[in-house]
């Protein structure tokens, strides 16, 4: 044992062990500290990264917002100008209605409508408004209005009329949506093919069906269109591509905003796309019925105001039921047509012809002069002409009878 005690190596070992242990312990401590630090650093890093992503997102949003606001303001000006121009064109059309220039004015009007539609679409993408109509409009007129906003509008054929009308606030949105659909339909089909529009009442409202004879869409395109049309993802101006394709995006935004649905996932009978706009009852109203009353009342139950000889035969059944006649009970003679103007306003009915053409039954009354005086004057005139002719019979024979 003693030889061991004298071994310096042992002493070295004895002295070295605690040192080594301390070193090891220290080392471990350091490692754990380092680990901790690393975790903290990692956390810090992720935090930073999140902040950064947030900042980028925020900056993007802010940029989008700023772009939208700028564009919206710019588009509002353009929209205003376009509708102002439309009014001016209307006035000039009326002024020069009988001149050849009208043809050009109609063309300008057409171009202006397309221009206005573009401005409206961009405004919609920027969360702007379309401008609200004051009156309800018949569905047929809204469809025709939409038709007029695309370039090749003569290819669009409206196959059915309807008695439905659209409430004022939805007139412009529905017209714009239809115009975008028609634009797509005409763009993706051959120039000589027609685009058909049918209006069908369904239990949930009214469907406007647009059929084209184009090439149709593949599944991928349909899926993408469906996503855009659902209006779920908010429209972003920066992701429209170049040239911008915003038809479906605009439609999606408007459909979501006004509560109607648009689908393009079916195939038309002609092999192209069938687009269906389903308008719910909330957006619909009927064409004003009350106009039927006043219109009939103007032509029938006011006999004293009707000039004599023009409508002397009483309406059938009047003497039977005089009270009922006042409210349209006897309108067999009147054409049973819709009694509203294109704008949905009550239509004024004329009481009778204002023509200057004398009708056969009319006995031109000359109220101020009594017949005896008239006869004597006419007689004097006749005698005068006869004596005049006699006096110069020979000389005037040449041109008396041409």
């Amino acid at each position: 044992m003693t030889q061991y005690l004298q071994d310096p190596a042992l002493w070295a070992l004895v002295a070295g062990t605690p040192v080594a242990a301390t070193a090891i312990v220290r080392g471990r401590k350091k490692i754990s500290e380092l680990r901790k630090e690393r975790v903290e650093l990692k956390q810090h890093y992720t935090q930073l990264e999140e902040h950064y992503a947030e900042a980028v997102e925020e900056a993007k949003d802010r940029a989008e917002e700023a772009t939208k606001n700028t564009l919206k303001a710019a588009m509002r000006t353009l929209q205003g100008l376009a509708s102002e121009q439309q009014l001016t064109i209307s006035k000039i059309q009326e002024t020069y209605g009988e001149h050849k220039i009208l043809q050009d004015l109609l063309d300008i009007d057409h171009m202006n409508s397309q221009f206005a539609r573009r401005a409206q679409s961009i405004a919609v993408l920027c969360d702007g408004w379309l401008g609200r109509r004051r009156n309800d409009a018949s569905l047929y007129d809204v469809v025709r209005s939409a038709k007029g906003r695309i370039r090749h509008f003569t290819r669009v054929e409206i196959r059915s009329q309807s008695n439905f009308a659209i409430v004022s606030r939805a007139v412009e949105p529905v017209a714009l949506v239809l115009a975008e659909l028609l634009d797509n339909a005409t763009s993706y089909s051959a120039p000589e093919t027609m685009i058909e529009i049918n209006i069908r009442p369904v239990p949930k409202g009214v469907c406007i069906v647009v059929d084209d004879a184009g090439v149709g869409m593949n599944e991928e395109e349909k899926a993408r269109a469906g996503q855009l049309l659902s209006g779920g993802n908010s429209a972003s101006v920066s992701s429209l591509g170049n040239p911008p394709q915003f038809g479906f995006t605009v439609i999606g935004v408007l459909a979501a905003r006004y509560g109607f649905t648009v689908s393009v996932d079916s195939t038309s009978p002609y092999g192209g796309v069938r687009a269906v706009v389903l308008l719910p009852d909330e957006l619909l109203t009927s064409l004003h019925e009350p106009e039927e009353g006043p219109a009939v009342a103007a032509s029938n139950p006011l006999p004293p105001e009707i000039p004599p000889g023009q409508q002397s035969t009483p309406a059938p059944g009047r003497h039977r039921a005089p009270a009922a006649a006042a409210f349209g009970a006897s309108n067999e003679g009147a054409p049973a047509a819709s009694e509203t103007t294109a704008g949905g306003l009550p239509k004024r009915r004329r009481r009778g012809a204002i023509s200057i053409v004398p009708s056969a039954t009319e006995d031109t009354p000359t109220p101020t002069r009594d017949s005896a005086r008239t006869a004597s004057a006419m007689g004097a005139f006749q005698r005068g002409t006869q004596s005049g002719r006699r006096s110069t019979q020979a000389s005037s024979e040449g041109h008396e009878v041409p």
Partner: protein, 126 residues
């Protein structure tokens, strides 16, 4: 998103359906076909067809009371004269309307005859 803050169209809005849509892009009718004074009225036996456009229907109702001139129709409907001519032309072709030339204005009588009449009257009563 509510629609309450939606502004109305600032100025009075133009017609929803533009004239070029009503005529479906038709070219103007030749001047020789109709004049401002051409008179139209509804045909005795109108053809039974699919429903007409509201504008054409309105035009028929206007003419139902007797003869109306193109100018008068334009005044009543507010359409440009050229548009009215197209609509009337179509309706005439389809047999809904009957058009006739304007009543010719009175022919000018030769001055000599008038003088002779005057002389005769003076000789008799003067």
């Amino acid at each position: 998103m509510t629609t309450d803050d939606e502004p109305e169209l600032v100025q009075e809005a133009a017609e929803l359906v533009r004239p070029y849509v009503i005529t479906n892009g038709r070219d103007l009718v030749e001047d020789s076909a109709f004049s401002l004074l051409t008179l139209v009225t509804v045909a005795q036996e109108p053809p039974h067809q699919k429903p007409l456009d509201p504008e054409k229907q309105r035009l028929l109702e206007l003419c139902a009371g007797g003869f109306l001139s193109i100018a008068e129709i334009a005044g009543h409907t507010g359409f440009p004269v050229g548009i009215v001519k197209i609509l009337v032309f179509d309706l005439t072709e389809e047999g809904h309307l009957y058009a006739r030339a304007p009543i010719p204005s009175a022919q000018l009588v030769e001055r000599q005859i008038l003088e002779e009449v005057l002389n005769g009257l003076q000789a008799r009563f003067g």
